[in-house]
Symmetry: C2
Subunit: 432 residues, 2 copies
């Protein structure tokens, strides 16, 4: 192993067999963590070639279970988001795209920090279960064209172990390592094609457009070497997506969006990502045709119907979906008001996420219980004018002593100015 | 710790307190090896400033016992060599410099690989012991101006642990880490001033003059920040020093040198290093005066007398020193002959070292027993002309089946040419 460390340290390319021996040795414990972490730091400085990145991805992918979706007809298109505050895109996109005829076989993780993940949001619907056998998962997709389940512990174990080590050794920030982590999981889940939503800005992993473009190219490079089509959409994350942040609150907003009454930014993003998925799934011939199909499914009610069908198939209480006032709610609310008049110049998504965690909507530790009804409904976003004492956001929690802590983060989140800020586009760039 | 790793990874300077927390945490086990190795790899790429190098040295030095030599009058000048095959300099220099009036308080390690270390060579003299209490060590120096003892396990434990980790994580080759490792040990041993012999060439740690100069400057920088005078002498290690390689064989050659009958290169090096030690110890006013003093001590017999005094003080059998034919010898000898006529163009010190290990003169593992009589006497060195079948070297061992393995390395060591090679100087540069 020390020879492989020195080889990478000196900027040389390692072979697929060498990556296989590193990952195998790491998982078996034959190679100690201190050698892997030194190797990772050498990778941080010397980078990986595109061949190395693809080989590492392939080796990682094969470290655990490989989901075989070949029983399911059609091109399985997965979507991945690098994550962001208020991102309920999956809740909208999965039924929307399934309704269009693209099979949706979605495996999701749970959220830690910011707000809950997709699974947490779904579980705010009473009875809905994301635990199922592989065969149940496949059968549900065959019957309903959609299923969403939790990730098995045996899915890419190399990534879990490697990420844990990267996290404590200052070796997270490397495009090849980030890309191989994401792509190995998507590919192990059986995706034939992948649409990646790369967020840029506050509260997002990528801070600049340049970094996001580099990440996009790296993932497309892995796809091309592994014979999988990948489209990357780079989107702005300068403020939270939509108005709702919190589990049941986001389910409500997703339903609104599926019915055609959702926030403009969330709707735009879902049409953008969804249309690319339809093109990759060969259900639409062009991006424009894809958008038209999706708009039609929303208008006709078929998108929402598919959501109801999905919830029922996974054991969820469809009354909650049809009458959203039955979704978990919060005993207490707090109107967070502006301290001054002016335009909202900045709305830091990370601070909003942290405020929602304080309210109980996200986990502070792995063991934290979620308050499904807790969260934030933003009333004003970037570019809006507010008067002094006007409500900026409504905070919800089942524990009213959380408001004091949450408002500290709200104070940090909102920045005012006397001039109206320039409007920024949501979709920054599509890379394919 | 992850913040400190990222700080160094991003090329920032760490404070002395930060180095103290890293080294303390490493020794206590609070900081796991995988974080230290990632940090070391970041150091490999980003380097340390001279302030950081001195701070790391200081913190390492304080990780264990600090030898207090203040009871001993005079300026304690230590010598360090980066090591090399056939380097018996300490055996000559210590009594030579002690005879001139500079107190010699020498702590040495044992050798692993190549040939034995200074302690192993001394122990080939029957009865001589290098194990003694701190007070015995100091008392011997007060009485005889010289003592040589083994390094305590508690001397700079941070270095032992750190070096073991560097060795298996590809992070050995960094001037700051190499320098802090050497200097922390010398300073913990109580040296007021230090002469460093940096070997360059085959079988030496530094492969180029440029690297050696960089190492010299780094060590002088540490000294200047820690208020200790350091002189570095860069010497060629293109072939073994002197003619003898092996424990008792090297003692014999050291005695010859102390009596004025030693090999030219060994004598030159001892006068060079010794004179700098006399200047640093304020026994000589100039380098030239130092050389004159040392030559006088050799000529008058006082240098050899000091050696005998030293051997007796440490329990050694002085009969062996006065009649060197009583030193351990080997039952078997083998005349290694030239396969062709020509000039010796290259004599690889590393291969000679490995040949001597095969003969029993060095340790292959920590547990190996040494054959004190085993080793090699070179008969021809670089620039010498030899006829076919002329003896190049005599091999000695108490186990004659070792000759076959040893000659394989001898074949690799000697390179012949038909043209006489250019003469290369031994002393390449003095940096102070």
């Amino acid at each position: 192993m020390v020879e492989l460390i020195i080889k990478k340290r000196n900027g040389l390319e390692l072979s697929k067999e060498e990556y296989a021996s590193i990952i195998d040795g790491f998982i078996s414990g034959d190679i100690p963590d201190y050698q892997i972490s030194a190797f990772l730091m050498a990778v941080y400085f010397k980078g990986l070639t595109s061949a190395e990145t693809a080989n590492l991805t392939d080796v990682m992918m094969r470290s655990g279970e490989l989901i075989d979706l070949s029983e399911i007809k059609g091109i399985k298109v997965d979507k991945h988001s690098t994550g962001g505050v208020g991102d309920k895109t999956t809740l909208v996109l999965a039924p929307l795209v399934a309704a269009a005829g693209v099979p949706v076989a979605k495996m999701s993780g749970r959220g830690l920090g910011h707000t809950g993940g997709t699974l947490d949001k779904l579980e705010s619907i009473k009875g809905l279960s994301v635990d199922m056998s592989r065969q149940e998962f496949i059968d549900k997709i065959k019957s309903h064209n959609i299923a969403i389940c939790g990730q098995n512990a045996n899915l890419v174990p190399a990534d879990k172990k490697l990420y844990a080590l990267r996290d404590v050794t200052g070796t997270v920030d490397n495009m090849s390592l980030i890309s191989s982590s994401i792509m190995s999981k998507k590919l192990a889940c059986g995706a034939d094609a992948i649409v990646i939503d790369i967020k840029v800005g506050h509260g997002a992993f990528m801070k600049t457009l340049k970094e996001a473009e580099e990440l996009a190219q790296t993932m497309i490079g892995i796809g091309s070497k592994m014979n999988r089509k990948v489209i990357a959409v780079i989107t702005s994350m300068s403020e939270p997506l939509g108005y709702a942040v919190g589990n049941a609150l986001e389910v409500q907003e997703a339903i609104d969006t599926l019915k055609g009454n959702g926030p403009e930014d969330l709707t735009e993003l879902c049409l953008e990502l969804g249309s690319h998925m339809l093109v990759l799934g060969q259900v639409a011939k062009s991006y424009d045709e894809g958008v038209d199909i999706l708009k039609g499914l929303i208008k006709s009610g078929k998108a929402f119907d598919k959501f109801v069908e999905f919830v029922e198939a996974q054991g969820g209480d469809i009354k909650m979906v049809n009458q959203t006032e039955l979704l978990p709610n919060a005993k207490f609310s707090y109107a967070y008001k502006s301290k001054e008049a002016g335009y909202i110049n900045d709305l830091n998504a990370l601070d909003i996420g942290l405020a929602s965690v304080k309210l109980g909507a996200g986990r502070e530790t792995k063991e934290s219980a979620l308050d499904y009804g807790a969260g934030i409904i933003l009333k004003k976003k970037i570019g809006d004018y507010v008067n002094k004492e006007e409500v900026l956001a409504m905070l919800y929690s089942n524990n009213d002593i959380t408001f004091a802590r949450a408002t500290e983060f709200m104070d940090l989140a909102y920045q005012m100015s006397q001039e109206k800020p320039l409007e920024k586009p949501l979709i920054l760039k599509t890379v394919m």
